[in-house]
């Protein structure tokens, strides 16, 4: 008799919910071809194809993404608690979450551990395969609550997936072809009143310095050409795109990485009289879909 001990922090999926969720989208739903999907930029996709084996290497090219992911997850958890989607006590049903552009599944697994039932989707088959491989070997207790499919958010909307109680797309929007349409599809996936989390980089001199020059050309910790300044989105622009798509931004915070201590801090957007100081480079934004 073998028992696997669960940490009891998160709720378990109730059988009922699992049936309801997966009757719409069975576990073996086929991966889709994403080449012709409008948000896909093949060049951007190829960047991640080549390093998809390193997603879970905490010392590899995604080292600081791991660090940043811890801070992002804490931020997401706090907002989900504020909005009453997660509660301190065990919940009967796990709220549904979708992580768009899941890459190797760093954020998707974290969402599962917070107590959500998470679906990670990505346009690159290599990423989806890497995410599935990690999940199956790394954590059998988490596996029932986390799933991956190769598809884009437009395809998820077309399939009528959801509605989701939490939509995340972290460090993705700077790599998609039509940000406005992409954001609209994220809002479409969310249930009314549900939060949409987006994180990206501001289009600023600071962002160019800390997100391109230093990591790609000086430290070499990120492959050259991973990011281009013109694809970065300032928070106000993103707020306007979200508003047009039917979601109101409720909070914007900066994500500041301290590479020496390998820690990431969530900081306020404005520091006293200095507006936008905290969001000069990386930031995370929480918007709520209109009811």
């Amino acid at each position: 008799m073998l028992r696997q001990l669960a940490t009891r922090t998160g709720p378990r999926s109730s059988q009922h919910l699992r049936r309801a969720f997966f009757s719409q989208q069975p576990l073996n739903a086929p991966d889709l071809s994403t080449e012709t999907s409008p948000s896909v930029n093949q060049d951007e996709l190829d960047k991640f194809r080549h390093i998809s084996a390193s997603w879970w290497d905490a010392q590899g090219p995604f080292k600081y993404l791991h660090t940043m992911n811890h801070a992002r997850t804490r931020y997401i958890r706090d907002r989900l608690m504020d909005l009453g989607i997660l509660t301190r006590n065990q919940q009967e049903e796990r709220p549904l979450a979708i992580d768009v552009g899941c890459g190797g599944g760093l954020a998707t697994e974290a969402l599962g551990r917070l107590g959500l039932s998470a679906l990670g989707i990505d346009a690159a088959q290599e990423n989806v395969s890497a995410a599935r491989a990690h999940l199956s070997t790394a954590d059998p207790l988490l596996a029932p609550h986390v799933h991956y499919r190769r598809m884009t958010s437009e395809q998820a909307v077309a399939e009528n997936l959801g509605p989701f109680s939490c939509v995340t797309s972290l460090e993705v929007i700077e790599h998609v072809e039509h940000p406005t349409d992409f954001v609209r599809s994220l809002v479409d996936l969310a249930a009314p009143g549900a939060p949409i989390f987006l994180s990206t980089m501001n289009r600023s001199a600071v962002a160019w310095l800390v997100d391109i020059l230093v990591p790609e050309y000086i430290l070499g910790s990120v492959p050259k050409g991973t990011h281009r300044l013109e694809t970065f989105v300032p928070p106000d622009e993103l707020r306007d795109i979200l508003r047009a798509a039917g979601a109101e931004t409720i909070d914007v915070r900066g994500l500041v990485l301290d590479p020496l201590a390998n820690r990431c801090h969530v900081v306020d957007r404005h520091w006293g009289p200095f507006s936008n100081v905290g969001v000069q480079a990386n930031y995370i934004l929480c918007a709520v879909k209109n009811k």
Partner: protein
């Protein structure tokens, strides 16, 4: 000072009161620990009742000869003091809330208070005297404990010789009591004496004498793949400063904080990156405390006159320098 059984029953009570889902498996021993089951590389603990448990993280809180530590392949190093600790439960002739310790040439002897006039004795000594102290009657043993806190090392050695030469208990007890009387009269007449003595031992509890070897063991690391060590599993040391439990409690507090941070940020609590944060915070602190306790043992265990004089000077100085004394107490008593 608290007895293990009281500590355990207190812990059980708080588990029962809490709303957390905690399973307590009783009357079961760990038979073996494996590193994987099927394709899942998590530690698997097999119990004597044939249950197997697999978890993300295995915490070794299983004492100085930790089975979990052996499973994890964490090496230990350290020294044997060539001494044993003799523990016994005593009944004192008055209520007492103070701990007493005397450093004898053979090793430190300590009385640690229990409620209700009882006390715990820890007498560190070599193998010869240990055998002798374990073999004498409860009555003689109680008399020897009183002597150990009051009489000179030469007199104590003389009692040992008497017992070894096969003298009957009665005459030895009489001899000890007579010398204790003489000591009491002498110290009463000399007004200068300000030695604080523990209450007299009225009786030693029958069959309460137990012994264990004294050693210092350090570990290479407090963590390994999906394993964390807390308490004596991660550090064994001489009980003379009573720091073992304190360090264990600090380990647990630190590990809990580390794991909480990991859970809140959606991390797997068993991965090296998480456990290393615990190791980083505790490893050097534990090593430093073990080193300090080892130095105390060496400084107090020596007969060399000059060191003994320095030691007395230092202790008296510390006693009259109340800020330093309070600071030291704060560090040692958590």
């Amino acid at each position: 000072m608290i007895e293990t059984k009281n500590l355990v029953s207190g812990l059980l009570r708080s588990i029962h009161k809490s709303q957390m889902q905690i399973d307590v498996l009783e009357r079961a021993k760990v038979i073996k620990i494996d590193s994987e089951y099927g394709s899942v590389r998590w530690p698997v603990v097999t119990l004597s009742d044939k249950t197997s448990l697999q978890a993300r993280l295995l915490i070794g809180a299983d004492g100085g000869s930790s089975q979990v530590r052996r499973f994890a392949g964490i090496d230990t190093y350290g020294t044997e003091y060539g001494q044993y600790g003799l523990a016994a439960t005593l009944c004192l002739d008055q209520l007492n809330e103070t701990a007493f310790q005397r450093f004898l040439p053979t090793g430190p002897v300590a009385i640690l208070p229990f409620p209700g006039g009882f006390a715990n004795l820890i007498w560190s000594t070599g193998p010869d005297q240990l055998q002798l102290l374990k073999s004498v009657s409860d009555e003689l043993f109680a008399a020897l404990v009183n002597a150990a806190f009051r009489l000179s090392p030469a007199e104590l050695e003389y009692f040992n010789d008497l017992v070894r030469s096969g003298a009957a208990d009665g005459p030895v007890i009489e001899e000890v009591l007579w010398r204790l009387d003489v000591y009491a009269q002498n110290s009463a007449s000399s007004a200068a004496s300000k030695v604080v003595l523990p209450p007299r031992v009225a009786a030693a509890m029958p069959k309460s004498r137990l012994s264990f070897p004294l050693r210092m063991r350090m570990v290479d690391s407090l963590v390994s793949d999906r394993v964390a060590l807390v308490g004596d599993a991660g550090h064994v040391m001489h009980p003379l400063a009573g720091q073992g439990l304190n360090m264990g409690l600090e380990d647990v507090q630190c590990l809990v904080e580390t794991l909480e941070q990991a859970v809140l940020s959606g991390q797997d609590i068993g991965i090296q990156a998480v456990l290393e944060r615990y190791n980083k915070q505790r490893y050097m602190r534990n090593l430093a405390m073990q080193g300090v306790v080892d130095k105390i043992w060496h400084v107090f265990g020596t007969d060399v006159g000059s060191i003994a004089k320095m030691r007395s000077l230092a202790m008296n100085g510390l006693d009259s320098f109340s800020i330093a004394k309070r600071l030291l107490l704060k560090t040692m008593m958590v």
